[in-house]
Structures are given as structure tokens and as C-alpha cells.
Symmetry: C3
Subunit: 143 residues, 3 copies
């Protein structure tokens, strides 16, 4: 499977996107420390006192970016793997993976930097196109 060229191409972008997701988690943690805004009283106590058990708008922004990744990148890990097994051409498959990858990187940047709307929504939509395309192609392949 790992010797299948399309599958390898998928795995490459998929692993980069998982690392991108982990990066958002690390950023969230750093912002919590810098802004002193902790989700749990035990963390607040360790970092100065219970008054730091509080919400912060930028921490919430990071969390929304992360959740949106879960909603979109995790299904891609499934769709991309199965799509790779349906025998698509490498060029077409790579285009699907690359568009998704670039659009999701832009989505994260647009979220974390609060870029002007509709940048983030357009990135979200651009990333959905290859996903819906793969879903439809998988269903056609099955029928």
C-alpha cells in the first residue's frame, strides 16, 4: 500500500496536515501561558492563581481553528486513503491532495491572523471541493 504512488502522495500531505494540527495545539498552549488564560483551575493555580482560570478571545480563536481542523482534516484522512485505493491517476489525485493541503494551510493562517473576511470562508470552501470530489468518486467507483 505504501508503495502505491497515489497512496504515498496522499500520506505525504496527510502527515504534513497532522503536523499542522499539532502546531495549532502548541500555539494554543503558548497563548494560554502568555495571556494567562487557563481552561482548568489546577493549571491556573500553577501559574499564578485561580483568577487566571478564565477565557481569552484569542485562545478561543485558536480553539475554533483547531476544531475546524478536526471537522475537515480528519475526514480527509479517511477519504484520501480510500480514494487512493480506487486507482485514480497520480496527476489528478495529487491535484486533489495539493488543493486541500494549501487551502487548509491558508484556512489556519486566515484564522490565526484574523484575516479579513471572506478569506477564511473561501479557504474552507476551496478545501471542501476536493473532499466532495473524492467522496463522489469513491461512491461512483463502488457502484
Amino acid at each position: 500500500m505504501i508503495r502505491n504512488e497515489v497512496f504515498s502522495c496522499f500520506v505525504f500531505y496527510a502527515v504534513l496536515l497532522v503536523i499542522k494540527m499539532y502546531t495549532i495545539a502548541i500555539i494554543t498552549g503558548q497563548v494560554r501561558l502568555r495571556k494567562k488564560a487557563f481552561a482548568n483551575p489546577e493549571d491556573a493555580l500553577r501559574h499564578g492563581g485561580l483568577q487566571f482560570h478564565r477565557e481569552d478571545p484569542y485562545v478561543e480563536r485558536c480553539r475554533r481553528a483547531h476544531l475546524n481542523d478536526l471537522e475537515n482534516i480528519l475526514p480527509f484522512l479517511f477519504l484520501g486513503a480510500v480514494y487512493s485505493l480506487t486507482g485514480p491517476s497520480l496527476t489528478v489525485a495529487r491535484l486533489h491532495f495539493l488543493v486541500f493541503f494549501l487551502a487548509r494551510v491558508l484556512h489556519s493562517l486566515a484564522y490565526l491572523l484574523a484575516l479579513q473576511a471572506p478569506t477564511r470562508s473561501l479557504a474552507y470552501t476551496a478545501a471542501q471541493v476536493p473532499c466532495v470530489s473524492m467522496a463522489v468518486q469513491i461512491l461512483i467507483h463502488l457502484v
Copy 2:
């Protein structure tokens, strides 16, 4: 793998459920626009002003439906794939996938239409049964 009948059957229901998840995301976005309730100030600014950077009970309901899908459909994508590789009979496997599929569709309907309790909880529980069954069968197969 894709020629394995059980695996194909799994992929069919799994892809439909991924599309169902995407649909909830689209509904959430439409409700945000209609109710003018945006999670980010940059979105609110584009749609009338910062006063629309606010929460809405129905948007929150959609988000809970989506999160519950992440908690349940995403593990199914893993369990179903591995279970398919353990060589179950097609009839039994299809029953697992079909029960999960129908229960999760009912779960989403019960959530979005706020159907009387315990409709949603029963759908949730019904969907868990094939998942726990698959998990146990995988463990037995390994031992």
C-alpha cells in the same frame, strides 16, 4: 482492499456519513448567516457589524450535533475499516454498518429538529451498539 465486499460495504456507508457530517457544517453556516450570529468579529463586520459577533441557541445546537458526529462517526471510520479486515460475514457486517448509519442519521435529525427526549439519546445508544460490537470482535480476532 476496495475489492473486498465487506470493506466496500463499509466504505459506502462511511462515505455517506462523511457527507452527512459536511451537511451539518453547511447548515451551521447557513444558520449563522440567517440568524446573523458569527463566531468571529471579522465575519460579523462583513455581515453588518460587530453586534453580530454573538452566540445563537440554534447555532450552538448545530455545533453540538457536529461535535457529537466527530466523537462517534470518526472512530467508526477506524473501527469499521479494521473490522472489515478481520473477515466477518457480509450479512453480519452489513447489519453493523446499516444500524450505525441509520442511528446516526436519526441522531442528526433528532438534534437539528430538537425531537422530544429520549429520541436523540436512543439513537446515540443504538449507534454505539455496533461500534462496541466491532471493537470487541476486533480484540477477539487479535487474541
Copy 3:
């Protein structure tokens, strides 16, 4: 695939972790019932009245534990499967899976029992080490 020793080892720990995630969902539901704190008005109505449509700090703690599992265990289901296909030694691979498994069990315990900081953060970090290691090894294998 299921006859591959490394893959079987991965599946074993992965299925246990999925069951661990399901357990957190069950605990959340039980805490909601015991504390009478429901996310939906229809659930509150069934259990005594709309005044129980409310938040509870311990329910929110359970939810954060669950969300953190989604953020970490679900990507592991992908990374572990692909890593298993790259032909690592069984001993090294088992060490990756075991460290992740134990660290995530500790993470859940630290969260649900509100253990003193930084127990939970250390468990989180310990679980990330094998994940990043697998991600890097997959990328090296591809190149």
C-alpha cells in the same frame, strides 16, 4: 494487513483507546444526569424542567477531556496505521504504541480527577512524542 504483527499491535492499543474515549462519553452522560446539567432543553424537560438546561463545571471538564482525546487519539489512529505499513521493528513500534497508550490513559485520569498540574500537561507531551516520531519516520520513509 491484520496478519502484519506491527499492525496488529497497533490495532490492539488503538481499539483500547477508542473504548477509553467512549468511556469518557458515558461518564459525561452520567455526570449530566447526576448533576442535572443538560446541554439541550428537551433533555432538561425530560429530567425535571428547563432550569436544568445549564452548564456544570465538572461536565465541562469531562467535555474538555473528550475533546482533547479527539485532537490526539484520532490522528494517532491514522499515524499508527500508516507507520505500521512502513516496516518498523516490532519492538520499536510497540514502544511507540505503548507510550502513547499509557500517556493518554494518564491524561484522562489527570483530567477527570483534576490531578495537580503539570500531571496532565506532562501526559499530553509524553503522548505527543511517539506521534511526532511516527510522523517524522513516515516522512523519511516516503523520501
